[in-house]
Structure formats: C-alpha cells, structure tokens
C-alpha cells in the first residue's frame, strides 16, 4: 500500500529562443506530454522553475496561468479541439473574447487570421462541415489570432492523411519563416525533421538536443 510519487521529468534544463522551430520527440511514457503541459502553462512543475519571456510562470495560480495561456500560448491539438457548435469564425474569435477585445475588432482580426491560413471562404462553416485539413487550419488560426509568443502543437498531423499533413507542415514552415516560435511535439521522425532543432526525451530526461538544417 501507499503511493509512489512518479516524477515524469527529472533534471530537464532547456532554453528555447524567440523564433526557434523546435520538435520534441519521445516514445509514449517518456514525459514529453508533461513537458508540453509545462511549456504550455497548463500545469506547473512540482519542483524547479519555468520562465516564459522572463516571467516566472511556475509559481502562478490558476487564473494567472489562464491569462498567460491566453496571451502567450497558441495551442494546436492532434484532435483539433474546435467547439463543434460554433462556426470557424467564432472558434477563432474565442481567444480574443477571453482577452477582452471589442466585438468589431475581434471579428476583423479573426477574419484576417482565417484568411492568412487560406480559409477566407469558409468562415461560417461549422467544424463538421470542414475537412480534417481545414479544421486544423481553423485551429492554427485560433492559435495565431492573439499573436502568442509560442505556437505549441501536439501531434498536429496525427489525425490527418499524409497529403494534408504535409500541407499543415508547410503552413508551419511559413509561420516559422515569419518569425513565430514553434514547438511541435511528435513521435514521427519525418515531422520532426522539418523543424530546426530536435529535442529527444527518454525516461524523463533529455536524451539529445541537436540542431538540424
């Protein structure tokens, strides 16, 4: 009987610069999800610290974290995680709503962002009226709309066929070239190869950290 505390990550020391395009790789159970949750301010570490843009995030409470996530992090999920009853425009507007942007301004910004991912003609479609690739584009637009410091993508092509997957990775490439900081969590070597730095996690430790390209 009794509980055993499992440390998903140990002695992980990591620095990511503005504008980097990083892939985090590792088999399941390696701790990469935990690392992603910490980087995305969804969770706080039980020990150690995390600074985002020079702000110490590791000591923040729920509401402060929510604010940081809203301003600094753009999430892209494997399963898209769009709100099913809301159309593309409204899904993209959501972070702006939580940021307190006025209705007119947020509509304008959301439309621009949707156009920038090539969905100008799909703004009033609901998620179930869009293809997988289009859904992920909506999700990317939603992640981008608040101009976050980090785009955090968790297996972004995991639910897409290889053609649309390639499309999405092309989108990432463009975003990176435009100066966005991107962190992609994946277990696919081919996806990771498209980034510029690969960090491999194994058993809660950083196994390797190499710059490519």
């Amino acid at each position: 009987m009794g509980t055993e505390t499992v440390h998903a990550l140990r002695e992980v020391s990591l620095e990511i610069q503005k504008g980097e395009y990083v892939a985090i790789m590792g088999p399941s159970g390696s701790g990469k999800s935990t690392l992603m949750n910490l980087l995305g301010c969804l969770d706080t570490p039980s020990g150690g610290s995390y600074e985002l843009n020079g702000i110490r995030v590791s000591q923040m409470n729920d509401n402060q974290l929510a604010e940081i996530r809203n301003r600094e992090i753009g999430f892209i999920f494997q399963t898209f995680n769009l709100l099913p009853r809301s159309d593309a425009l409204r899904n993209v507007e959501l972070p702006l709503i939580y940021a307190g942007v006025s209705p007119a301004q947020r509509r304008k910004t959301a439309l621009e962002t949707l156009a920038s991912v090539g969905l100008a003609d799909r703004v009033h479609h609901k998620p179930n009226e869009l293809s997988g690739g289009q859904r992920q584009r909506v999700a990317v637009a939603r992640a981008l709309v608040n101009r976050p410091s980090i785009l955090l993508a968790d297996e972004p092509t995991g639910n897409l066929d290889s053609k649309t997957g390639t499309e999405i990775m092309g989108l990432f490439e463009n975003l990176s070239n435009n100066g966005n900081t991107i962190i992609v969590v994946t277990h696919e070597e081919a996806i990771a190869r498209q980034s510029r730095r690969i960090i491999r996690i194994r058993d809660g430790l950083i196994a390797s950290d190499e710059r490519i390209r």
């Binding site: 949750n37 995305g40 969804l42 969770d43 729920d62 509401n63 929510a66 604010e67 996530r69 809203n70 301003r71 999430f75 999920f77 995680n81 709100l83 009853r85 809301s86 959501l94 972070p95 709503i97 939580y98 940021a99 307190g100 939603r142 608040n146």
Partner: protein, 409 residues
C-alpha cells in the same frame, strides 16, 4: 474580459447548448414549469383569499373606528363609573371630525334607543331605533335590498322617513312590500323608504337586521332630545388603520379642548380582535402555501442540478479547450450558471403563460388575479432556483484541471 461581455458570451453559449439538447432541455424545463405554475397559482390563490377575507372583515367593521365615551372593554367598575361621568359625545363633535379627518372615508354619528313600533294592527315592542346620517350605510358596509337609504337632505332635517332592517321589515309587513307605507315609531308617523339586505351571521342576528334607521333631526325631535352619540369613522385604507386611529385621537382631543397631560375623556374602539384573527389565518395559509410550493420547486431544482452535472460531464473536453485558450474560473462558472438560470427563466416564462389562463379559470371560483408582483416574484424565484441549483455543477466545471479535462474522451 469585463462582466458584461462575460454575461453576453455566457448567454449565447447557453442558448446554443439549450438548443443543441432540445428534448433534454424541454424535460428539465418542465420540472421548473410545474414548480413555478404552483408558485403562481398558490400566490394568486392566497392573494385572492386575502382580498375575500378583507371584504368580509370590512363588512363586520374592522376598518371602522368607534368613538365612544368609554372603552368597550372596561376593566373595573370604577373605570365604568368614571366613563359615565365624562361629557357626552355631541353632534358638533361628529361634524368637527367629518371636517378635520384626512384618513377617513366616512363619518357617521349614531344614537340609539328602543321604542315600540306599529303598522296598522301589527305591533313590535322594544325595537332598536337608530338615529344616524346617510353615511351609516358606508361605515357599516350595508346594502339596500329595496328602495333606498336615507338621503343627505333628509338627514339635514327633512321629512320623517325610515329604513328597515330585513328582520324588522318581515316582522311588520310579512310578505308585503313596506316601501311607501307609514309606520308609527313611538306614535310618530314615519314613511318607509328602504329595506336593507339581510346580513345574517352574528352581525345581523346581533341587531343590525332588526333595527330601524331614521334621520338624526327626527330622532332628536321625537325620541331623545340630547343623546350621547357613538361616532363611526371608516378609514380609507385598512392598512392605515393605526395612523387613522392616531389622527382621530388628536382631532378628538382638539375638539374636546383637552390640554396636554390630561387623559382622554373619550375612547376609540375598534374590532381589532377580528384583525388579529385575520392576520393569523392569512399568515398560516401563506406559510402552508409557501411550503407546498417550495417542495415542488425544490424537486424542479434537483432536476436542474442533475442535468447540469450531466452537461458539465459531457462537455469536459470543451471546458478543457476553453481553459487552454484562456478562460478563467469565473468565466467557466458564469457560463454554466447562466445556462442553468436560462433554463429556469425559460421555465418561469412558460409557467406564467400557463398560469395566466389558469388564473382566469380560477377566478370563476374565487377572486384571483395574476398581479405584476406575483409575475415578478415567479421570475425571480425561477432565476434564483437556477443559480442555486446550477452552482455546484458550475463550480465543479470551473475548478477542472485543464490537463485532465483535455485528456477526457
């Protein structure tokens, strides 16, 4: 994000959630509808009972103050003797009261004595003869069955006319119509101009049905030269009876020219036992009503809480996404509170739409009306029910950990 935006967003989210689960929302709303219909009907029934109580209470004179030389409830022989020594209450005082009181709707001086009454060969002895004015019908809440009551002109010194109580009329005239007939009161001829509706009950049997009313000038001329009057003061609003009694006392002291510090040489009597009884009864009925209503609303509220727990559980992932994107606890809490409150408010509106025709039907049996107050209370109660029963599920949603919520399938 300010509160107004949050409320607006919460409303639009909850509206789409309600529409997405039409059957479920309808069934949940039904519980609240039944609860609120009960509240509303109970409310109208109680206020209907109240007003019918008020009418019957006012018919026995609870809204009438009686100015007498002494109190109806003397506690000792000494007090009684003292009362007898006080100056009598004159017609001049009644006139003064009628002029000066602001909270009174009618003032009637009343003198009474007993006399023998004859009609042709028929004779009634020791009949209660009341000398009064045209206002007596108002202060006593009487209705005329045939003919009319004494007129103002007659009460300022006109012809010898009289109005009969219903029992007095049957005693003298049996089945025949007394109108226009001449009777002799203490051997003085009086023409019958009206007969009162039978009162029955203790008020009627207590004497009102068997008395004969004549104008004061005829009373002082033929029966009692200088009587001690009782002045009946009907207040405009029963709720103001305490204020009216205070005012009456002040005016009386002024009319009697009593210096400060000197005790009253008159008494203001009122039927406050009846009032007390009325308040007790109304209170009890109200309590029982609230309890029953509360019970059915409680059941409806449990239904809301249950469905909100389901709604939170099946939208765990959505909550996770919203939190990941930047929704704070308060935002999520409000979202679900507004959803619960909207369902209840919707139920309240439907309930009112049902209760309105129901009240019209009820009105055929007893006085009932859907007052704006009841409408307001019904809507408020439904809103509060929603917020109270939605709080626990909403709180659970607000406190969810985004990592766990996102992992939920």
């Amino acid at each position: 994000m300010n509160l107004l935006t949050e409320l607006r967003e919460g409303l639009s989210i909850s509206w789409s959630a309600i529409r997405a689960n039409k059957l479920r929302s309808a069934l949940t709303t039904l519980g609240i509808v039944i609860g609120i219909v009960t509240v509303t009907l109970m409310g109208t029934a109680i206020s209907g009972l109240n007003s019918s109580f008020m009418t019957s209470v006012s018919s026995i004179g609870a809204d009438v103050l009686f100015v007498d030389r002494r109190s109806w409830f003397t506690k000792s022989a000494q007090e009684w003797i003292q009362g007898q020594k006080r100056p009598i209450i004159t017609l001049a005082i009644a006139e003064g009261l009628a002029r000066q009181l602001t909270l009174a709707s009618a003032v009637a001086p009343v003198a009474d004595t007993e006399a023998d009454v004859n009609y042709q060969k028929r004779r009634a002895s020791s009949v209660s003869i009341v000398g009064t004015t045209e206002n007596y019908i108002t202060t006593m809440g009487l209705t005329v069955a045939a003919g009319r009551f004494l007129s103002a002109g007659e009460c300022n010194g006109g012809r010898p006319v009289c109005v009969l109580g219903s029992v007095a009329a049957t005693n003298l005239f049996l089945e025949a119509s007394p109108l226009g007939q001449k009777i002799l009161i203490d051997q003085h001829p009086f023409e019958v101009v009206g007969v009162l509706e039978k009162l029955g009950g203790f008020a009627g049997d207590g004497g009102l049905d068997s008395q004969i009313m004549i104008p004061i000038p005829q009373y002082t001329k033929n029966l009692e030269r200088n009587p001690n009057y009782e002045i009946q003061v009907k207040v405009s609003h029963l709720e103001q009876i305490e204020d009216a009694a205070d005012e009456l006392r002040l005016v009386m002291r002024r009319l009697r020219q009593l210096p400060p510090g000197k005790p009253d040489d008159f008494a203001i009597n009122q039927q406050d036992q009846f009032l007390e009884l009325f308040h007790q009864l109304a209170g009890t009925i109200g309590m029982v009503g609230i309890f029953i209503t509360g019970l059915s609303l409680f059941v409806g509220g449990i239904g809301i809480m249950n469905i909100m727990f389901v709604s939170v559980a099946e939208r765990t992932r959505e909550i996770g996404v919203r939190k990941a994107i930047g929704a704070k606890r308060r935002t999520i809490l409000l979202q679900f509170l507004i959803e619960a409150a909207s369902i209840c408010l919707l139920g309240g509106l439907i309930a009112l739409a049902i209760a309105w025709p129901a009240t019209l039907l009820l009105n055929k049996i007893m006085p009932a009306a859907l007052s704006p107050t009841i409408v307001g209370i019904a809507l408020l109660v439904s809103l509060v029910t929603g917020v109270v029963s939605g709080f626990l599920p909403a709180w659970r949603a607000a406190r969810m950990n985004p990592v766990d919520a996102l992992r939920n399938e």
